[in-house]
């Protein structure tokens, strides 16, 4: 019983084991070779440095499980930031403005992306690419490309403060992770997202509200973008008119590194956390080592492809079988390998 739990926990990591092992290796490597890497201050910087990515990636995980991607997540962060600055500027109490900002993010995600994809059945790629582009433009128009300074103490606390000696962004990271895990494991919504991503038709025929589930999924991504906006504004004390849309792609990369399938229906937020930490450790360790930060992008990109490749190779049982399987798929008999697998289990 006591030995069973760690073993089960280890077994549960099989979808993101490559990134887990590389992360551990990197951690060891930087810990041994780079002085100061393991300092409390540095680890705190490491975590707060990826806090925005973390929150976005958690929301993005549900989007990928539902067989979609939210390219507009970073644009919603910037838009929510401008919203927050405007709300405060209009005299809203900081507490109210914060809640409204998060809800605003959720509303944009659900109302624009969710409805267009879920209700009207448009392609997630087209819709979120379109909303990303349009929202980026709206941010510039609305902010008149000027940085809007935010001086509210509460926001500073969110970005820079700490509670019980731990930085507030880290608390936010922990809280969002717990909520995401709860949704994933303990709610029908979580299960519905997997079913919808696995097969929309099968889910509908089993009585699952596929439209509502899709709207909610993009709403969750939007809510996360709203939360990320609070951290972003809090950290620099201003709402920036700049939109870095690459962050949305980086979040998607972290989710994929964490073993969630781009095809939907499989994966989870547990793996996403390690995908984000991988990017964070690499960024931080390389910068301590004095290596240009662009290397972090090169390594992340290569590892992302290698991780997926490694997973496929081990599933196929070697490089040659993988190539053979790919060729067999091209022969338009996609389910033949799985058929033979079925034969095995029934025999």
């Amino acid at each position: 019983m006591t030995a069973a739990l760690p073993r089960r926990a280890w077994a549960a990591t099989h979808r993101f084991r490559p990134v887990l092992l590389i992360l551990a290796a990197l951690f060891l490597l930087f810990g041994v070779t780079q002085e100061g890497f393991l300092d409390a201050t540095n680890l705190r910087n490491l975590l707060t440095g990826v806090s925005i990515l973390w929150v976005l990636a958690l929301g993005m995980t549900f989007v990928l499980i539902s067989a979609g991607v939210d390219l507009s997540a970073a644009a919603i962060v910037a838009l929510a930031g401008v919203f927050l600055a405007r709300a405060l500027g209009a005299g809203a109490p900081p507490g109210v403005a914060i809640v409204l900002t998060v809800l605003f993010g959720g509303l944009v995600g659900a109302g624009v992306n969710g409805l267009l994809i879920g209700r009207l059945g448009l392609s997630f790629f087209v819709v979120t690419l379109g909303s990303m582009t349009a929202l980026t433009g709206i941010v510039s128009l609305w902010s008149q490309t000027e940085t809007q300074f935010v001086t509210a103490r509460l926001l500073r606390e969110i970005g820079m403060g700490s509670i019980l000696g731990i930085a507030t962004p880290i608390w936010i990271m922990a809280a969002t992770l717990l909520v995401a895990l709860w949704i994933q494991h303990r709610t029908y919504l979580g299960r519905d997202i997997y079913a919808v991503g696995g097969s929309r038709v099968a889910a509908r025929l089993a009585g699952i509200r596929t439209v509502r589930t899709t709207v909610v999924v993009y709403g969750i991504s939007g809510l996360c973008a709203g939360i990320a906006a609070l951290i972003a504004v809090g950290r620099i004390g201003a709402a920036s008119p700049q939109v870095d849309n690459a962050i949305a792609l980086q979040a998607a990369a972290a989710v994929l590194l964490g073993g969630t399938s781009l095809m939907g229906g499989a994966g989870g937020v547990g793996g996403t956390v390690f995908g984000v930490l991988f990017i964070g450790v690499l960024q931080n360790g390389l910068s301590i080592a004095g290596v240009q930060s662009f290397w972090q992008q090169v390594v992340t990109g290569v590892i992302l492809v290698l991780a997926v490749l490694g997973d496929r190779i081990s599933a196929a049982g070697g490089v040659r079988p993988l190539i053979a399987a790919a060729r067999a798929r091209l022969a338009a008999t996609a389910d033949r390998p799985s058929d033979t697998a079925n034969e095995g289990s029934s025999a």
Binding site: G198, L205, G207, A266, T340, N342
Partner: protein
């Protein structure tokens, strides 16, 4: 008439034709090199990890222009053998001999170069391209030096190939607009255009109606006359007995019986497939179960006839269904017969709310207001779709998840899923349905076809649906799983559920149903009691010859 009688009768009929073609074949065989088979797979072995998919399989086409039947339960290694033959899988051991020379089939392209072509279950066609483009897919359209593609010549070539299969279609028609059987013909035409001498047809009839099957048979017979051999894979014994010249039966990766079709009848094939002991039990069960099920259902019908469990009035959908009236009583099993395109699937979808339709659907006397799957499920309707892989199951998810997908929703959305009540429900379902799975947490995709189908059906049994709509409940499952599913359906009916079963196999309906409703072009054309129903009667109405 019972199923055993039906198959015995068709078997004797087919044995006669088999003998006749056999005699004709001997005449033809005289010109071929004596005794040497056209194609021989000998002692083929293949392992996947620790599982022996093939452990010494043998398959011999005795001469060019032969129809060779291949049958075996799911898990017998049939798919793997076809994979080896079509170059998709490399065997671990064994010889492949074509026209007396040993060959290696390293890829589907290599197989094609040797004249071996596979026509798969799922048609491998580009639906938006024309017939001619599909036939000559892969840059094989007729080309001229300067003008480029010569469409007129290409279309003429395609038309010629189609005509040789007995098909009269404009080669410029997009393939997506053709009926499923004609799409299959296009695939066969493609194989012929590539000079295929051995065609592998993997369950070509599984999605075809009776008349379309006849058209396909005619095409296969034309090919036989031209010296093109066919390896014909089917679960349906009467088809094999009617069409094949010779037969190979696989069980557990081995060839357990092979020879001229005249040596076989339905009982012998089933016995070879399932092994002698299982065959004995299956016969006892099917003999015992057919009659009493009908009898009990008959008695319930009389008591509850006033308020049927399911009542349809004027159900219609533009171009698909016309004014369908139908009653199904609690405890009754009603079959839906008809050719593909007659509206069987559409009717079930319309009742379930998955297809927009007019008219009224009443359940136990109260009309269904909202017309979507959720409302139907809430009212106690269950629907087993025809395609379990895409419609019936979420393949990546666990057996437990798929089984509980409907039932546990009643518990309320805020309570956590995966609790003790759900585990109990899943455990019970796995036990009653005799689902073979590594664990309830195993992904459904790892199960065999028969067990997958049981999970898809089990979801509704676990939810205690009072009205079950079943579309092709035993498509693509082996004989043993089929018997199991029939047993479960009878048990559900005996329990008071109303069943509406659609099947393209009339034999299945005759074995299962108290009443058979025949559809043609979206209309009810006949309603036959168990006594009136027979293969002939159903075929007559379905074909529109009332």
């Amino acid at each position: 008439m019972s199923a055993t009688e039906a198959s015995a009768r068709s078997a004797s009929g087919a044995a006669a034709t088999g003998a006749a073609t056999g005699a004709a074949a001997t005449a033809r065989g005289a010109e071929a090199p004596h005794g040497a088979p056209q194609l021989l797979l000998d002692d083929v072995r293949k392992r996947f990890g620790g599982v022996h998919a093939l452990r010494g399989a043998r398959l011999a086409l005795t001469r060019p222009g032969v129809v060779h039947g291949l049958i075996g339960a799911n898990g017998s290694g049939k798919s793997t053998l076809l994979g080896v033959l079509s170059g998709q899988q490399r065997p671990d051991a064994g010889r492949i001999v074509l026209d007396g020379a040993e060959i290696a089939l390293t890829s589907p392209l290599a197989a094609l170069r040797h004249g071996i072509a596979m026509v798969s279950q799922e048609t491998a066609l580009a639906p938006d391209l024309s017939i001619a483009e599909n036939v000559f897919l892969g840059g094989r359209l007729v080309r001229r030096r300067v003008r480029g593609i010569d469409w007129r010549a290409s279309n003429a070539r395609a038309a010629e190939l189609l005509a040789s299969l007995g098909l009269d279609e404009d080669p410029a028609t997009p393939v997506g607009r053709l009926r499923p059987d004609r799409q299959q013909m296009v695939e066969i035409a493609r194989a012929l255009s590539q000079e295929a001498r051995i065609l592998i047809l993997d369950e070509p009839t599984s999605s075809l109606g009776d008349d379309e099957v006849q058209a396909l048979f005619a095409a296969v017979r034309r090919l036989r006359a031209r010296g093109v051999s066919t390896i014909f894979v089917s679960h349906r014994l009467p088809e094999l007995l009617a069409l094949a010249d010779e037969l190979t039966v696989l069980r557990d990766g081995e060839t357990v019986a092979a020879g001229p079709i005249a040596d076989f009848d339905a009982d012998r094939i089933v016995e070879a497939m399932v092994g002698p002991a299982v065959a004995e039990r299956a016969r006892a069960r099917s003999g015992a179960a057919t009659r009493p099920a009908a009898a009990t259902a008959g008695s319930t019908t009389t008591t509850t006839a006033s308020v049927p469990a399911l009542r349809l009035r004027g159900v219609g959908a533009p171009g698909l269904l016309r004014e369908v009236d139908l009653d199904v009583a609690a405890g009754e099993v009603v079959g839906l017969a008809g050719v593909v395109g007659a509206g069987r699937s559409e009717l079930l979808e319309a009742i379930f709310g998955a297809l927009p339709a007019s008219g009224t659907v009443e359940l136990h006397g109260s009309a269904l207001r909202a017309r979507d799957p959720r409302a139907a499920i809430a009212a106690g309707v269950g629907y087993l779709p025809p395609d379990r892989k895409h419609q019936g199951l979420v393949l990546q998810r666990s057996v437990a998840d798929n089984l509980a997908m409907v039932a546990t929703r009643d518990a309320g959305r805020l309570r956590a899923p995966g609790g003790a009540a759900e585990r109990a429900l899943v455990g019970e379902a796995i036990a009653t349905l005799r689902i073979v799975a590594a664990s309830p947490a195993a992904p459904v995709s790892t199960l065999s076809g028969g067990n997958q189908q049981k999970v898809a059906l089990g979801r509704w049994i676990a939810a205690r649906s009072r009205v079950l709509l079943l579309d092709e409940p035993t498509r693509g499952v082996d004989v043993a799983a089929k018997a199991e599913i029939h047993r479960l359906l009878r048990a559900a009916a005996a329990d008071g559920a109303a069943l509406l079963v659609s099947s393209s196999e009339t034999e299945e309906l005759l074995a299962l149903c108290d009443r058979i409703v025949v559809l043609a072009r979206g209309e009810v054309v006949a309603s036959l009691t168990a006594e009136e129903a027979s293969e002939e009667a159903v075929a007559r109405f379905a074909g529109g010859h009332a």
